[in-house]
Amino acid sequence: MARRDPAAFAEFVAARSRSLHRAAYLMVGDTQLAQDLVQEALTKTYVAWPRLRDPRAAEAYTRKAITTTAISWFRRKGWANERPTETLPDPGRPGHADDIARNDWLWTALQTLPARQRAAIVLRFYDDLTEAQTADAMGCAVGTVKSQVSAGLAKLRKQLEATGAGDAELLPLELMVVTR
């Protein structure tokens, strides 16, 4: 990988783009936007390819590019970090649809979080990265990761309480465990 080898890069893209796209989707909440994000991040990776020594480094680099680019896009495009919450599904709906309603509510609530909080939660709880790895991907300190995750979870709990539903029902306490 010491040179810009198109075949090796294509192999990397084929192997990892689906996984990277999924994480990107969770960060931006839109399939097409996630695809654009991955395309941009992989372009940056191609530029940096000669300096990336192994596939793990390439994946870490691309993940970092996805994360920082997503946060940057949200800033540059002037999108509100927090989207309106009026459309949150009603979590108190009784009956067999409870699980679906709960998941719809949680998904929508997740998308209302500021970009950095959402990115930190995705990296920690979807990509299953350590706090140090998350900090590297976000280009920030470990302490910032802790505070972003903690703030994101607190916001989810607060929104849940505002709906009148019980915390324990929809957001298990395990969610509050943010270190390992």
Binding site: R4, P6, F9, A10, V13, S17, R18, H21, R22, A23, Y25, L26, T31, A34, Q35, V38, Q39, L42, T43, K44, Y46, V47, A48, W49, K64, A65, T68, S72, R75, R76, N103, L106, W107, L110, I121, V122, R124, F125, Y126, G139, C140, A141, L156, L170, L171, P172, E174, L175, V177, R180
Partner: protein, 374 residues
Amino acid sequence: MTGLLSDLMHDRADTLAAPELDLDALMRDGQRRVVRRRTAFVGGGAALAVVAVVAGLASPGMLSTDSDSTAGEPGFASYFAAHEPAWATGSTIHIGDTSFDTGHRVKAFVQTSQGVVLSDTKGVVWSADGQGVVEVGRTDDKYPHLEADGPRAAWVDNSAKVPAFVVLDQASGEVVSSELTNEQGMGTLRDEANPAVIFALDGDELYVRDPRGALAWNFVTDDERVLGAANGFTIDDVRSGKIAYSSEEQSDTGSTYRVGTDLLSGKMLPVWDGFELSPGTTYLLGEDQPDKAAVFNVATGQVIDANQAGYDFFAGFGWVDDDTFVGLGLNKPYDSTPVDLLTCDVAGPCEVTAAAIGSVDDGIVLPNGASIDG
């Protein structure tokens, strides 16, 4: 451990089809970005070859004894590579026992390992190495500010409506620029409201302020690290990731000076004004009181008096190595008395490297990236 939230994210994401990426377009775009950087070359290869050397004034004796130079190379390269202190008077750059004329009156300049990068009185930025002089950009004509690290120099191009940050690699001739999130109407000085300014150049990162605040822009990868809020701090220098900065946090003096790896922590130092970190980040040049030169041990906080007997004013402004710095000494009246250039060991006395090199009235400029009258 993440339970519901983790399950939800997997449920949502795992149903996604593979992305429809255009790999050819992606690699073409990537290649264009690589080429764009390379074709922005100035100073290297053909571009330099067609530019005439302007009135070389090198000392033959010095050049002939330049043991570091290979056959056919001028002596300037070895001086720049060795971080010999340079200064400018008028349009002439002096270094070691030699000098060369750039053909452009020097308003401000920085010294790299390859040569100098200067801005003239019209705000044109030039790259010069003793062999040739090449126009490389534009910057503020009244208050130029350049930074340097290794073979690179940086400045703000405010010739367009939206200011851009620019980095030149003098070794390759490559120029990279970016507006980041700059906008129209931004200021050019640190103390102005919403300025677009550079703070320091450190390896592949240029430390700047844009509307988001202080950030490190990696001009090689185009990544960014936002470091802090938009106001309430000043970064004086960055070396190997260590940041010398003051912040308006709670303190009796109204500001606190630290050297750390971010804008929230670090070793607190009794600095009145900070200038330059040493190459190994062992020391910081500055003042512990107004017009009172000092060297600060970054690890211990020790303040080493750097004032020099025999001068009404002395200030260190650059480093030769981790223990040796360069300073200027002058006496009253400051504007008309010629400046002495001194080389100082942190633990020992200074020696006059060049005596009476010129006065402020003569238009002397030192390689600190700013105009002496700005």
